[in-house]
Amino acid sequence: MAEMTGKERFLCNLRGEKPDKVPLLHWSVDLALAQSGVSMHQFAFDPEKIALGHIRYVQNYKADVCVVNTDLWWAFEPFGVEVYITDNLIYPKKTVADRRRPDPKVYEELEYRDPFSGRRAEVLRKAAAIVSDEIGDKVAFRQGGYGPVSNLALLMGVKEALRDLILFPEAVFGAIKRVMMDWTVDFIAGSLEPWKDRLTNINWGFASLDRDLAPPEYKEEIARLELEALWRVKERVGRDVPVTTHFCGPRPDLDFVTHTFGDALDELQFWWPGSEYSLEDAVSKFGDRYAIAAGIDHTRTLLLGSPDEVDAMVKASMEIAKDKCSFALSSGCELGIGTPEANLVALADARDKYGTY
């Protein structure tokens, strides 16, 4: 079979057909930053450097997907969230909700803000447009975000929002329905716009439905809100763009999410090896309904192991999943700074060695 582009490979796999080889999916702000040759202080405000780093990343490491970003916080700036920028990290200075003393008023008084009215929003949109124009025909583009519950947690502080969901559920759910639902739809749909028709994949973060985090008594309600937001985003996009899950937690509740989200999803991406949900189980339970994306442990083997160990990890993952479902070799989350170059080369080589159809 003639060699496919990353984009062709990715889409072919999602359609349930056999591509030339198993798609290789991983991404990393940290490593894209390193590829750009500048510090985070410059990277965060320079669309051309952001684009350059991400383009070099997919080219050098042979990733079939591109995810352009700098951090999670830029869209929250209009709410007054200020960030702290270090050499390689961007983090909020303080949370909106008080850490020590809970107060339902912060939820009751929350007002909508345009996610694209902050100073860094335009930088990210420009960067995405540059990447789309440069390599849009060669690799798949994945863009997305979290649902309204997670977005409220990111805004308020994850711990505070989890705490307050138990202490003041009416105030928290009120803020989600009144403000964060529309904000989430506007944010994700707006983030997809720069890709135009080159957008190949919506990524939906399921942090709020990790088995450990979500209170069981509110799980159905959280899922209902997340699903409503997802359908509204799909409506706004106006065409059928495949949706991939993003589970980066150690206890992904794949059973609940597949049961609840059903046909709204196309691909299950989760962290394995590394999480408690085995690839074997995912393939046998869901491989006939969804594409499965997993198989790279970005926190241990890829980061700390040798090239031989990376090779063995890929071989094992391929043996479990390659011929049993539409399988993509994927990390569970972003690759970390310090991931050895030799391991990234070994990863791409092993995909070619064990993943060719």
Partner: protein
């Protein structure tokens, strides 16, 4: 008086278990104003918090419940201002990022277990840990890295403690979702724990080692 104490402690427990933050706070204040010994209130709060952890371990509570319980526990702990001689001193912090959920639960568990805990907070960097160790002279330094981008900071912190000679008089415990036993060995940490209860066990093991000169 014994009946009064039980009544007050019962009111604290009822509001704690129902996650009524303001009611729990008021019940604790009422108990202290009525003369219920601070140690009794502290003990009751510890029991309630440990019970919440058991429920979490049994799958009945989520992390959301645990954070709510931790907030009520901490508010009550501060109100009682009880003086308990500490078994050891721990300096704790989350390196590089603003994640503090796991770190805070460990901090509260260590406090409940009798450790004095100095919390450096979040977005902590190696030089801040070195300064805190010079100032606080802890037995244990507990370092959380919750995202992969912050893993190198654990290694840098241990390196800084070794370079300044401070590492000789303390033990370093690491943890966080992206850490592993293998990583702990690579960076020469003294201990690693995959979760909060095991972090407390590990802190006690390291404290014993330190006292035995191991």
């Amino acid at each position: 008086m014994k009946e009064d104490i039980e009544q007050h402690l019962g009111a604290i427990a009822a509001s704690f278990l129902a996650f009524k933050y303001f009611e729990a706070e008021a019940a604790i204040k009422r108990a202290l104003e009525a003369g219920v010994p601070r140690e009794e209130v502290t003990k009751a709060l510890m029991t309630l918090f440990l019970d919440a952890l058991d429920r979490y371990d049994a799958g009945k509570y989520s992390i959301a419940h645990l954070t709510a319980a931790a907030t009520i526990f901490e508010t009550g702990f501060e109100l009682t201002n009880a003086e308990v001689p500490p078994k050891g001193k721990v300096v704790i912090g989350t390196l590089g990022s603003s994640h503090y959920l796991g770190k805070d639960i460990i901090r509260l568990l260590l406090m409940a277990d009798g450790f004095e805990v100095v919390d450096l907070g979040e977005i902590v960097f190696p030089d801040q840990v070195v300064e805190a160790v010079e100032r606080e002279k802890p037995d244990i330094v507990a370092l959380a890295s919750m995202i992969i981008a912050c893993l190198p900071l654990q290694q840098m912190t241990i390196g800084a403690l070794q370079a300044t000679g401070l590492k000789d008089s303390l033990k370093v415990l690491i943890g966080g979702a992206v850490t592993s036993e293998r990583w702990a060995q690579v960076i020469e940490a003294d201990g690693w724990a995959p979760n909060a209860p095991q972090a407390v066990e590990e802190a006690n093991r390291l404290l014993r080692q330190l006292k035995e000169g191991v």
